[in-house]
Each structure stands twice: as C-alpha cells, then as structure tokens.
Symmetry: none
DNA sequence: CAAAAAAGTCAAGATTCGGTCAAGTCCTCC
DNA sequence: GGAGGACTTGACCGAATCTTGACTTTTTTG
C-alpha cells in the first residue's frame, strides 16, 4: 500500500522538491504552503506529515495542535532547531520526530520510512497512551499522573480504555455500553453516566482536568 | 452504502429466512448451503459472514480457515454451542463473534450492526471535510475555522453533516427533515428554518460567510 | 403595483438530556 | 458471615436545546 505524506512548508521550492523526491520513492504526496492550506489538506488523511513549524504568519504550536486534534499520524518537524522550550511546549509527543535544517534528502526518506514502519507495527497493538502528563498503560491497566497513580475500578478502566483508543471520536451511551459490557449484555446504558462521573471526579482531583467531554445530545469523547 | 452479508448454513429454510430478514433491513445478502458453495460465494467479497460451523459433511474449522485466508471480514458463527475447546482451536479470532442456536432475528441484526460499525471504525476512523478554511470532522463532530472552534448543537451539526456530505445538491425541507429526524419522525419541517438560521448565524459570525444557500422555492444547498 | 407565497426572524414555552445523589444489590476477601 | 468496595438503579433538578407560532421580510406572479 502506498503511504500518503503531507508536506507543509511556506517555501514552494522546498515542498516541490520534497514532493518530487518522495513521489520517486513511491509515496503519494500532498503539499501545503501555509497553515490554512495545511488544514484543508488534512482531508486526505495522510499517514505522515512533514511540518515546518517556523513558517511566517503562523503559530506553529497551535497549527500543530489542530492537526493532532484531527488526525492521528506521526508528525516530523522540519525546523532550524528544536529548543528545550519547544519540547516543553508540547511540539513533540509520542510518535513524533524532528529534522533540523539544512538536511539531505536521504536523511528525510530514511526517517520517514522508519516512522511508517514503527507506526505500522504499533498501530495494531498500542498499549501506552501519553497525553500531557497523563500516562495510561493498557497492559498493566494503570493510570499515572506525574509520578502518582490514579486508581480506577474495572468498569471505569474499561471505559477509559475504549475512549482513549478511539480518542477524538464521539460515542453515544448505547455504543459505549455495547463496547464495554459486550454485545449481548442487557441492562440500562444509563450506568455510564455514573461511571463517567466517577472517572471525571478522580481525574479532576488528580490532574485538574476531566478529559472526557460531553457532546450534548450525542455522547462522550476523550480529549487529548 | 449497503453492506453485503454472506449466509452459510446447510438448512435452506434457515438461510432463506435470514436472507429475507436481512434484506428487509437493507442489507445485500448471498447464501450458500455447503462448504463448496460458500467458497465460491466469497467472490462477492462480503462485509460480514454468518457461518454455521456444525454443518454435516463439512469440517467447520478448515472451512473457516479457508475463508479467512481469502477475505478479511468479521465472521459471526451460528452454532449450537461454543466449547472452550472450540475457542482454543481458533474458531474465534479478533473480529469474530458467535450466536448460539436457537436465536431470535433481532439478536442477529443487532450483532451484525455492531460488527459492521466496529469494522467501519477501524477502517477509516476519521471523516474529514475541508472547504475553504472550514474544517468539519464528522467523527469528533467538531467544526473549526482557522484555529477556532465553532460549536453546534446536535441538530445543527446533523444538518451540517447531511448537507456537507451531499454538498452541491439541493434538498427541500421535507427531505432534510426526513434525513435528519428520521423517516418516521412526525413534526413540522418548518423547524429547519430555525436551525438553518442558527447555523448561518454562527458561521457568518466566525467566517464571514454562510455556506448554506437558499434555492428559492426549492430548498437548501451547501456551498463550498 | 398589489397580493400571494416562500423564507427568515424572534421570543417564549415545552422538552429532552446529562449530572448528581442516595439507596440497594452483588461480589470478594477476610 | 460480615465488612467493604464495586456496580446498578431510579428519581430528581437544572440547564441546554428544540419546537412552535406569530410576525416580518423578500421574492414571485397576476
């Protein structure tokens, strides 16, 4: 299967060069020369994004956040340099990487290939979710905030697990109930309300946020 | 999109009954009354298979294996009972499920619907529409303009979703009402006027345009 | 140009939904 | 067999949303 790569940089010369090179390597490429164009191009649902975070007239961090909110693929940053501050700001999260300018084309292709391989492997069985200080480990069924563990009951964790592995998507209570209790479970999906309350309470207490958002009239959604 | 379901059982009465019922639910059905027929029918590339593993003259396990080697869709087993040994033998793998005989038709349809939904989710989890700076995400039910979210209520978003997935087409209020509220909904399609007003208001405020166009005497249309 | 028809606006009442709580049941581990 | 935690249930309340109907504006048509 051919991978789709979205290239975002303000310099047309550079995006074209990269696009030509990557097409040559067998990738399908999309380019965008600004923040707005980048967001539009997300509709192609790329497998990987090459992103210049130092584009003029663009707030790199919030563009990056927008991208992450809408697609779940690795982002490789093209940048003059990454400072410690950048890392703290959350530019780099789990699946991401950066390449400092100037760079050679072989370096770019090598990194891309490595990321796609890793992504491929981990997508099917990702067991660890990290999001802004919160660490959810599906294998050991534990949740940590900073160094401190937050304990959840079975049902509570099941709900978190389902939501977090489908982060960003909205599920109504029926679907959630079905997913956690099983297809043939009978009972009132209203229980979810109570469990969600408990989960939120614990998360709020420990982290100051609630993570699970209500979409009124529709259902719940895990917010990264 | 109509899903294709292959029904495999040696009892013609049963396959016919299931086929009739599922067609009624809007599925496209194919039937096979033996192992050989089943393998031939795989050519239709079904989205889900209902399979009796206790057919006479047939080794259920190897038939099942053959099927899996050729198509990658969930299989729901129809069986008298599943023993622990069956599970060990590998009848049940990741995406699969079983229904024990005797079963009711509602149970079958419920299971099928659930499996198809799950399958759908893993196949293409993000449904994104980008149009002129506007980013509409159907999975998370969010709408962004530049970096800023525009929030819509359930009905409002439902209307946007319908119009945007059928962008360019004109729908009269009756049709829109039917599409969003459901076929059997009773009520006045006049509500649409009010919801459209709210949608336009929010869009106008955020983006400076209205996107939903009135075709006088006919209906509404989403303009990119 | 005036009347009729269609579409848009507005405010208020009706309705639905989600959060919360308290109480009851079930289960497990001493 | 009892204590404690986990899971459910049902009722209630307030808030968000939906709907309605009267009214205004715009467009079409005779």
């Amino acid at each position: 299967m051919a991978y789709k790569i979205l290239i975002v940089d303000d310099e047309v010369m550079l995006t074209d060069l990269l696009a030509a090179h990557l097409q040559n390597e067998g990738y399908i490429t999309y380019t965008a020369n600004g923040a707005e164009a980048a967001l539009q191009q997300l509709a192609c649902v790329p497998d990987l994004i090459l992103l210049d975070i130092n584009m003029p007239d663009t707030d790199g961090l919030s563009l990056c956040k927008m991208i992450r909110d809408n697609v779940a693929c690795p982002i490789v940053f093209l940048t003059a340099r990454i400072t410690e501050q950048d890392k703290v700001n959350g530019f780099l999260t789990g699946g991401d990487d950066y390449i400092t300018k100037p760079f050679g084309l072989p370096e770019v292709t090598a990194r891309i290939a490595a990321h796609l391989r890793r992504d491929e492997r981990s997508r099917s069985s990702q067991k660890l979710f990290a999001a802004g200080g919160l660490l959810v480990n599906l294998s050991s069924r534990t949740v940590f905030w900073q160094q401190r563990e937050i304990s959840f009951s079975k049902r509570e964790f099941d709900i978190i697990e389902f939501l977090i592995t489908n982060a960003g998507q909205v599920f109504d209570r029926e679907r959630l109930y079905e997913a956690v209790w099983g297809l043939d479970a009978e009972g009132d999906a209203g229980v979810i309300k109570e469990h969600v309350r408990k989960i939120r309470q614990k998360l709020q207490e420990a982290t100051g946020r609630t993570y699970i958002e209500t979409v009124w009239g529709v259902g719940y959604r895990w917010n990264r």
